[in-house]
Amino acid sequence: MTKNLLINLAWRNIWRNKRRSAVVLSSIIVGVAATISMDGLTNGMTYQMLFNQINLGTSHIQIHKTGYTDNRLVKNFIQGELQLKADILRLPGVKAVSERVVTFGLVSSAESSAGIYVYGVDHKAEKRVSAISGLIKEGNYLSGAEREVVVGYELANKLNAGLGNKIILMANDPSGKIHSDVFRISGLFESFSSGFDKSYIFVNSDDLQNMLGLGNSYHELAIIVAEPSLAESLKSEIRSAVGSDFEVKTYRDILPILVMQIDLSRESMWIVNMIIGIALVFGIINVMLMTVIERIREFGVLMAIGFSTGKLFSLILLEALIIGLSGTIIGLVITGLIHIPFSYTGIDFSWFSEGLVSLGVGAVIYPVVSYQTVLLTIIMTPMIAVAGAIYPAIKAIRLQPVAAIRHY
């Protein structure tokens, strides 16, 4: 036996009942794996929801004329002469800016019609701000050619229209008059959200501005920043730069329900983790109590030959700590081996949940494990194991050597 008496003794005691130790280890491994996997999936799902929303058009920051958000009227436009885009592009941290003409309208084919949001965009700038150009499944994204339109598959199906077909777009101009024009479908897209695919269409901004008589005015400036975390600080900077005639909102302001949902899912993760932790504590209390009861006579002998109660207490806690640490390490390794490939390939949930697509998550979830959760698991799991051993250890040190030696 080497110099470290307690560690050696604890280690050997753990393995004297291999089956029981394996059961405890397994429960810790499953606990660790469950905690991290749940965290990975929840984060992956919520980040994807947010990421998809940002990429589908929300962007990190939006600028509108004051009052536009409350009343999305065509007349609440930003004058094109103001050159806001150039001013904002100069701000450090800003990666891309796109001017958008936004209106609500009616789109009709020969067979059907639907109410939709129309986005008039500069196709070059928009490619740097939203992901729509990358979601084209058939045909092409906007090229700047006259009267081309990109629609979602869902909407195309509803209109019973396909690539190259004409559709008629009707919308109000700033004075309320209805205008219409004919557009030809140049591309069909499929996003992560079925709701988006049937409600949004994209045309060149020139065409929409001409149709609505807006000149070079637009309604929205969509901004992508280098890091989402910069959005809040840039918001203040932009606000002071553009003045009070404009409202500046980050994705957190624009998507409050989604942000709340993300915060809520994080909070609920803590509750799930706490339940796993409590279950683990009781499991360990149970096993360590059995261990103590089985070894009463041995503890009596140890105390008789001069093993102090302090050392006995430490020995029992050390056994639990070793099991906790071993379980945590093995659990982390196993979870890592499973998680790392999935973080690249994603997990396809389409076979049992179409709801994910309608939620805007996408059928494939890429787990994202937060380092805080890993760190917390590394710290908390052995602590939980030790906490579970405290009561059995107290029971052990309260034993009277004389009675313990006689115990059979």
Partner: protein
């Protein structure tokens, strides 16, 4: 030289709230080099007395002096230290630590005493050699016979050179020949190394070897016989 002295020792147990007088007015002295046996029928109080003298239990009244110091008022921690430093124990059921080998069992108390590894190993090997079981050094208790385990227990009890070795029915689980061999060894150690032994037993083999025989009956000393 006096090692242990008891004065007017009483021990009362509560058995289902009914007080049971296990020992009454015990006065005895154990001196250096003694080979003393406490004998008596079952329930006479032998083991209770041994436990009190071995600082494993506390008397209801009376005093126990160990090397002149009253131990009846010492704390649990102080008694633990006393057992570690001054006492060696041999139990009826051997009670070796199952996860440790023979030599590790012997080294264990030396480790608790903080002895350096080289010295521990040397003293433990010497103890194994003295008991004729050197070849069992690396065997675990479940790989040894009862007699071999009890020899390891004796080695564990004597290795830290205690003031007194207390042996509670050491031959009770052994066959006659094995028990006799073990007693011969302890007898020899007592004679050659002046190790003090205090036994509790009703085994005639142990009793006939006693140089001081204390007979207990109903918790009281019935007779003291010195050979």
């Amino acid at each position: 030289m006096e090692i242990i002295r008891s004065e007017n020792l009483d021990k009362i147990y509560k058995d289902n709230w009914v007080p049971v007088q296990a020992l009454k007015n015990i006065n005895l002295t154990v001196k250096k080099g003694d080979y003393m046996v406490i004998a008596g029928p079952s329930g006479s109080g032998k083991t209770t007395l041994l436990n009190l003298l071995g600082a494993l239990d506390k008397p209801t009244s009376g005093k126990i002096f160990f090397e002149g110091a009253d131990i009846s008022k010492k704390t649990v921690k102080e008694l633990s230290g006393l057992r570690l430093n001054k006492l060696g124990f041999i139990f009826q059921a051997y009670n070796l630590i199952p996860v440790l080998s023979a030599i590790e069992n012997i080294e264990f108390s030396l480790m608790l005493l903080g002895k350096p590894e080289a010295l521990r190993r040397k003293l433990s090997l010497n103890a194994l050699r003295d008991l004729g079981i050197e070849e069992l050094a690396n065997k675990r208790p479940n790989e040894m016979s009862g007699g071999q385990q009890q020899r390891v227990a004796v080695a564990r009890a004597i290795v830290n050179d205690p003031s007194v070795v207390l042996a509670d029915e050491p031959t009770a689980n052994l066959d006659t020949a094995t028990g006799s061999n073990l007693l011969d060894l302890m007898d020899e150690m007592n004679r050659s190394k002046n190790i003090t032994f205090l036994f509790s037993s009703h085994d005639p083999q142990v009793i006939e070897r006693a140089r001081i025989l204390i007979r207990l009956r109903d918790g009281q000393i019935e007779s003291v016989q010195t050979k």
